[in-house]
Symmetry: C2
Subunit: 330 residues, 2 copies
């Protein structure tokens, strides 16, 4: 039997329990070139909130009644595709379910001899690649520059900050709460941390720790924090917009007012979509694995067991309840 | 005697008569390396509104009691600098006044054998260079692409659109009023014109004339029109932010809400500051002069005589009352 999480409603504002339904169905028989995968780990990502909306942005919305889109890692149970055999570890956009029948061409075989399988939905998967290419390819940080990252205690933010440290930058993180800020400073090696929940004027707080301005701003949150960062851009600054988690559940989006600072700072603002970098995935996986094994990057997972609480687990991303990369162990 | 326009106040909202005072003083005696210039033409530019504010953005604000900063063209009356002699035509940031004593190194000699002197404060001066480098260097339009420009009947916008046509693009202009839109279509050769004053939903109007999206958006106005343009970006679109004339006199700046579209469109948003391109001015002047002489660019001036109505003349830029490049003939 295959347990599946289906999209059942399109939320306005914060997603809720009733936006998903859970069913069990029989696994269909395999056709030629198909592979049956037992899913072990499912990645929960902020982008999922956008996929719950109708219409198409960079990718079409999930249909009502369709299995919720999700990136996952698992083990091959049966294969009618020449490249896969039983026992292979694989990843792919397999959906929020316990089993998946996939076209072999949509799966990637992964090496779990040195790292655990779950890492391939996190630090060696979409969010890790987002951090790696978003910072290095879009942000182009140079040694000695100042890098600011928001959502800094989250999966993408914590990796962005640690890669920036490896590249010789001064790194400032913005996160919500004292505990998260302590983690940034004491575990991830950030140079400074700003607790936005305890800070009246975020723009001023940034200026205090970065009096010469920000060379690269990696934005995971949007809204007021993006506006405060724009005020503090150094000359030729690069703003990399990765997400706007503060806005995903908002019914009215908050506009940014300080984009004119891009003119005076001769700055650029650009977006990162990780799918564009999949052809270059090996570069990122090679570097990130090396840094992980050398202990230069610390990676934390927050594992929740089972598919039954899918909605409340996904909500954790937006309330900031998770500590580390949020993963469902099926 | 030298007639000078001094900054007398810092406006909140729309600038007013009392923000300037007009005085007459004696011209001081020339020191070594100085040049006395009789100013013939003064350029009025939207950027002046920003220069009236306190503080520093890309350039420091004009001080209260100081001659209002302005780009101007004139004729050398007397010179103690080896490179200049009486009768030379020159340009420079000489201020809003009838005469200027300038360091020779801050003046540029110009060739008026083929084009009139006044063109050097417009099409061959700052606004012309802004259009040229903003579009070609920042916007990088390719033949067959769709270029959208706002403030399209204005000095910068009309030149941006005409250069884009020369480069083989489809060109859409946004302007206020039927007359201006007719000028875009019938005189400047635009492919489509949107009258924002007569259009309820600008985003939808852009979509109708550019169903495949906008490849280059050259923004002169900011605010709601920028937001509407962002909604319509094509993949890999370039947004060039040149100004935000709709916001210069606003007491509360309107935020832009659709910047997330930069992510899904893999777009970039960048600013243009013309000062950065002064070392490359000859490139632009050569091309623009050629296109003007060949009749490929039509250039209109709106000449107002005398310095006495400086404030009300400058206001015309923000009410849209001028038709063509606004110039004061001293």
């Amino acid at each position: 039997m295959n347990k599946q999480v289906l999209l059942a409603g399109r939320p306005t504002g914060m997603l809720k329990e009733s936006d998903f339904s859970i069913i069990e169905i029989t696994v269909p028989e395999l056709q030629d070139n198909e592979v049956l995968v037992k899913i072990d780990y499912i990645s929960l990502d902020p982008a999922m909130r956008g996929w719950m909306n109708a219409g198409t942005t960079y990718i079409r919305g999930v249909e009502i009644g369709e299995v919720m889109r999700a990136f996952a890692a698992g083990t091959v149970l049966n294969s009618k595709h020449p490249d896969f055999t039983k026992g292979d570890a694989v990843t792919g956009t397999m959906g929020a379910q316990s089993h998946a029948v996939m076209q072999g061409k949509h799966l990637t075989k992964v090496d779990i001899s040195k790292v655990p399988l779950s890492w391939y939905v996190g630090i060696l998967g979409m969010p890790g690649l987002t951090a790696y290419f978003g910072l290095l390819d879009k942000g182009q940080p140079k040694a000695g520059e100042t890098v600011l990252v928001s959502g800094a205690a989250g999966m993408v933010g914590s990796v962005v900050g640690q890669i920036a440290k490896i590249k010789g930058c001064k790194v400032i993180g913005i996160a919500g709460g004292k505990d998260k800020c302590n983690t940034l400073l004491n575990e991830f090696g950030f140079d400074a941390a700003i607790d936005y929940k305890a800070t009246e004027n975020i723009g001023k707080a940034i200026k205090e720790v970065a009096p010469n301005g920000i060379d690269v701003y990696f934005d995971n949150v949007g809204g007021e924090i993006l506006d405060a960062a724009l005020l503090n851009l150094a000359m030729n600054a690069r703003v990399v917009v990765c997400g706007a988690i503060s806005q995903y559940n908002a019914t009215e989006v908050k506009g940014i007012k300080n984009y004119m600072k891009l003119i005076s700072a001769r700055g650029t603002m650009t977006g990162i979509i990780v799918f564009d970098y999949f052809p270059r995935a090996t570069e990122a996986i090679t570097d990130l694995s090396k840094w992980l094994i050398e202990g230069k990057i610390i990676y934390k997972e927050h594992v929740v067991e089972g598919l039954d609480d899918f909605a409340s687990t996904l909500q954790m991303l937006f309330t900031g309840a998770n500590t580390g990369k949020l993963v469902i162990k099926v």
